[in-house]
Symmetry: C2
Subunit: 654 residues, 2 copies
């Protein structure tokens, strides 16, 4: 009983063509997925060892050896398999499918007779299964494997993997629940909740949603499971105890029952996955209280804790965590790529729940900025942390900036981000449109062709656009019969001037906007909609409570956030000041960074005259005119190491 | 063979009267010294335990018990004894002298038959003496005890303590040196070098200066002693190894022989103590190479690594350390009170070496700002870290700011700062004047009366002034006979307009300024010098390479750096903008913060209009006029917890 029967278009029903995202999907298919498979098999010499596939070989009995990697190493394999599954929907590949089948066979072999799957515990600590839910990620890995199995089933209709995971879920279901003989636990890192909801939509098995519900509602109840469990282990002094003590249960959002949670707290990725499940469950069960909780949490993040790039999490030292209101430093940001993935997942569930454009605005913002910054244009180098300001010398010399890397990395010891980014990219098809029986929501604009069914008719909507670089979007609608339905066009919040024509005739948008969508109700058959989303250069001002950005502006055009780079603007980007009275210009450079629209213009830079080695002086600083060039934030650091800056100083007038 | 027979006036020969520093010395004598003695004896209930005196009682065999505290806990007792010694020169006290004598008896009893003194090793690890010079502070504690013994001898002429320490130094001298059978080591935390130089000036024993010289020149030679020593211990994985690995030997300035050191590096207090000894030895031996080294290190600090408060050290996570050029963040500053003490010690030796006013400028800056901020107006609460910007909510919630405290503390587990501040304050008399056979340098201005001898005549110089609040300084010179000598008046770098009158007659300062001093050569007898150092409100601009302060100014009047506090200016001090076209005013408030001159005026503050819960918007920010009030930085946080800000945003004009 979802609130409204709204659903995405299936990934296979949308084709991306000659545009921004088709290029990125090409990168995913030809570079990211093959490269990541090599890393997972330890075939990239100069990348940190993964051992993730090897762990499965050892657990399956195919090889002898020791487990290596993190306790959650299995999840890298799962996320890669999920990405691969989406890629098969985008473009079939017998070669890749064969690799997947072989890997699934290996997972089957690694499964214990009771259904259990986890290579760390199977190989290294078989006696310690389920004894430390707080830290040990067994349920988290299970969740990612479930998501992969669902994706692979949807892509191939082969159900072997799905059955493997259903057996594992049965095992988990036998272990956890309200019954006295079961453990009353829940995962230290949320993930399985949202995965079980996905599984339920395939199996329609009540026990699958019930288990998700149990995990959600058990969370944070007194006495706290993680504390009880710790006492039982006789261990009062584990890693988390020592290092995260200050934040304790908030780190895993287990400080309160979820219905009492109103502020986003703790480890950012954990938080995003929990909030995704909350929104999804609220929708699935049409649960008013969960709905209210999800709105409170959303507003808290949007109003006080979100970077303009869609980045979430502002502190490494508090556990890759969300901190207090308006605490959004640019150089010390955590803004993990995985948190950007999680924010998109959550925003999407919020959209399904509320059908308001603001959620897809956040998805757009995150896709084009804080998510995409996580990968190089080559597809083979990644950021884990996506700061909004980098001074490489400080990053390389300050112990409080060790989490920030000045250049993207081939891989990581904790390598959650690259495969997470790959699976999100692979699933991008589902974020473009949503459909109900009478409505098509156009959520994202990108060159593509998608199929819809209304009653017994099939419709194709072709988007012709060079978005996000150009402002005109043409939608060609072709039905095999005439049908009445509504097309809803998202008018992004960044756009203050949008124009609409239908079959050449102008429409007043103001009359038809509802919840951020221009709602066009008519009989469709063979029609053309032209939407122009005027893209001027916008200067973003931050709420003055966000102290870090006072006196600064960020540049945005369309959904793209811009950054200054040292390679274009010289050293010391902080000494550049924009002047509100000087108009900046837009230019598309097809040979730069694989084709980007840049922003150029005059600005002022503090000069070095009369400093004479002095560190301080009474004499006023002096400015000189300079030409600046800003590139899309996501594309930074593809031309070598150097400074980068998003929030630029601005000469302010009273 | 010092470069020039320049020496301070003895502490007992200067009396502070009705002025800024006489008030601070009153605080030292009546509050700080008694309070600290109570803490060292664990008699302050709500302060962290010290156990420092108790450790001596146990080591002396007076009591049974375990050692408690840090491995360098003895140094707190030593520094307190040194402070006490100075206080006896300022104002004799049979009661305090009796306490000191008793404590010295205890130290004598705690001394081992071979001369060794260190309560940690005597009580807890007698077998591990001298096995880990890098971390274990035995030579550091010895250094502080030597300084205390010298100070007590100078104050009382009693030599018991001095003899105790000479015995200990003999023991150390037998253990360390170039001879094959000796250890070729040196201290992990410098301190004994400068102490041995002090001792040498009392004993005139060559071996005392030779040992200092040995420690200095052995430092950083290959193979590195700390690495060899670590191998010998069979310990490759100690605290420093694990935590300070990135910075390794730089942490203790043992990465290079001292003559190759050109950049200030590592733990800031260690660095300051080393550089003090280098400058002192350069002067003592008239050593040109050491002199060059000291100038390179000084320039490096002054040009790239010094906060305007005289604070040194900008990173906690790199070992309370100095980092790279221009890396001087305000909120994450380390700026340990002990480093400010160390900078004053160093600057003073640099002045003796070069007789340039810049060194006393730095002493003045540090005394009035980054040193004095370390203690509350009550004398019983202390800062270890002296940041230039505090947002208490961030400090209390961000793991990268745990070293910053939003309010002063009664005591610390590592309690180096309070006693260090006390001994520096106690010795302030020596920073006011220096003398050669033919010159009196007036280095600092403060209401006081000092005695000098020239040939067979005695002169008194009385400073009548309300400095640093008022700009006029009258020096009354009274000799018992007429003598020709030079009086050199420091013209502070902050002062761009100074006027001089001698016996009512104006003098052109420009003609007589040399190395920052106005040099007045005449026959003195009964004369009056009037110096007016015009104190306008100055706005300090930072070198643009200091990114953190771009777009900001700091306020200075006379030697005092100002700060905004929340209690006077409301929340969110970063949203306040000064406007260069609005004149600020000066007002002395005798009832505020025990009497301070404040700066007031109009400024602009970003208002909260039209934000409507938004975190970002395209609409420009709006300002409203506000009245601001700035107080001396050193006096902040004496009226409860709240925000504080030194570098204030400023509306810039091109």
């Amino acid at each position: 009983m979802q609130n409204r029967r709204i659903k995405p278009i299936k990934i296979r029903n949308i084709k991306f063509e000659n545009g921004f995202w088709s290029d990125k999907l090409e990168l995913l298919l030809t570079k990211m997925i093959p490269f990541q498979w090599k890393v997972l098999n330890d075939e990239i010499e100069d990348a940190p060892s993964s051992h993730a596939v090897e762990n499965f070989r050892i657990a399956a009995g195919e090889k002898k050896g020791e487990f290596k990697g993190r306790v959650f190493q299995d999840s890298d394999v799962a996320k890669w398999l999920e990405a691969l599954s989406y890629s098969l929907e985008i473009k079939s590949s017998t070669e890749l499918e064969a690799i997947a089948d072989e890997l699934i066979d290996l997972i089957a072999q690694a499964q214990k007779p009771d259904g259990y799957i986890n290579t760390y515990f199977s190989i290294a600590e078989p006696k310690n299964k389920w004894k430390n839910l707080r830290d040990n990620h067994e349920l988290y890995c299970a969740g990612h494997l479930i998501e992969a199995a669902v994706a692979y089933y949807e892509a191939t209709k082969k159900d072997k993997f799905l059955k493997i995971m259903i057996r594992f879920v049965d095992h988990i279901d036998n272990l956890f629940g309200p019954e006295a003989e079961k453990k009353q636990g829940y995962p230290g890192h949320e993930e399985i909740e949202l995965a079980l909801l996905k599984l339920y939509r395939i199996t329609n098995e009540k026990k699958h949603i019930n288990l998700a519900n149990y995990f959600l509602n058990q969370r944070g109840k007194a006495p706290n499971y993680f504390i009880e469990e710790m006492k039982e282990r006789g261990s009062e002094n584990t890693y988390l105890q020592k290092n995260k003590a200050k934040h304790g249960l908030k780190y895993s959002q287990s400080h309160q029952p979820i219905l009492k949670q109103e502020k986003a707290v703790g480890h950012a990725v954990r938080a995003m996955y929990l909030y995704t499940a909350i929104a999804d469950m609220a929708n699935q069960n049409n649960d008013q209280k969960l709905k209210e909780t999800s709105i409170k949490l959303w507003n808290d993040v949007i109003e006080t804790k979100l970077y303009i790039t869609g980045g979430i999490g502002s502190s490494f030292f508090d556990g890759e965590a969300i901190t207090i209101n308006y605490d959004l430093p640019n150089d010390r940001a955590y803004t993990e790529t995985c948190a950007a993935v999680g924010l998109i997942l959550w925003a999407y569930k919020m959209f399904l729940l509320h059908q308001d454009s603001q959620y897809n605005d956040v998805i757009e913002k995150t896709l084009y900025n804080g998510l995409l910054s996580g990968v190089s244009l080559s597809g083979t180098e990644y950021f884990y942390v996506n700061p909004l300001e980098v001074w490489p010398e400080a990053v390389e010399n300050r112990g409080d900036l060790t989490h920030v890397k000045p250049v993207r990395q081939k891989w990581f010891e904790t390598a959650c981000c690259p495969t997470n980014l790959a699976r999100l990219l692979g699933s991008i098809g589902k974020y473009i449109y949503s459909q109900t029986e009478k409505e098509v929501f156009v959520n994202q604009y990108t060159a593509s062709k998608a199929q819809f069914n209304f009653n017994n008719s099939t419709f194709t909507i072709t988007q012709r656009t060079n978005y996000p670089w150009e402002e005109k979007i043409i939608l060609e609608i072709e039905g095999d019969a005439q049908e009445e339905f509504e097309i809803l066009l998202r008018i992004p919040a960044w756009c203050e001037d949008a124009n609409l024509k239908i079959n050449g005739q102008a429409f007043d948008l103001n009359e038809i906007i509802e919840n951020g969508y221009a709602r066009i109700n008519r009989k469709w058959y063979q029609d053309q909609v032209e939407l122009v989303l005027k893209m001027t250069i916008k200067k973003i001002f931050a709420n003055p409570n966000l102290r870090e950005n006072i006196g600064k502006v960020a540049l945005q055009r369309g959904p793209i956030i811009y950054a200054l780079e040292e390679i274009d603007n010289g050293k010391n980007l902080s000494s550049i000041f924009l002047d509100g009275s000087i108009e900046l210009k837009v230019e598309h450079q097809s040979d730069l960074l694989e084709g980007v629209t840049i922003i150029t213009g005059e600005a002022y830079k503090i000069n070095n005259i009369n400093w004479d080695h002095k560190l301080y002086r009474f004499e006023k600083i002096q400015f000189e005119k300079v030409n600046i060039k800003a590139v899309p934030y996501y594309s930074w650091n593809n031309r070598g190491k150097g400074e980068m800056l998003v929030w630029i100083n601005q000469i302010l007038s009273i």
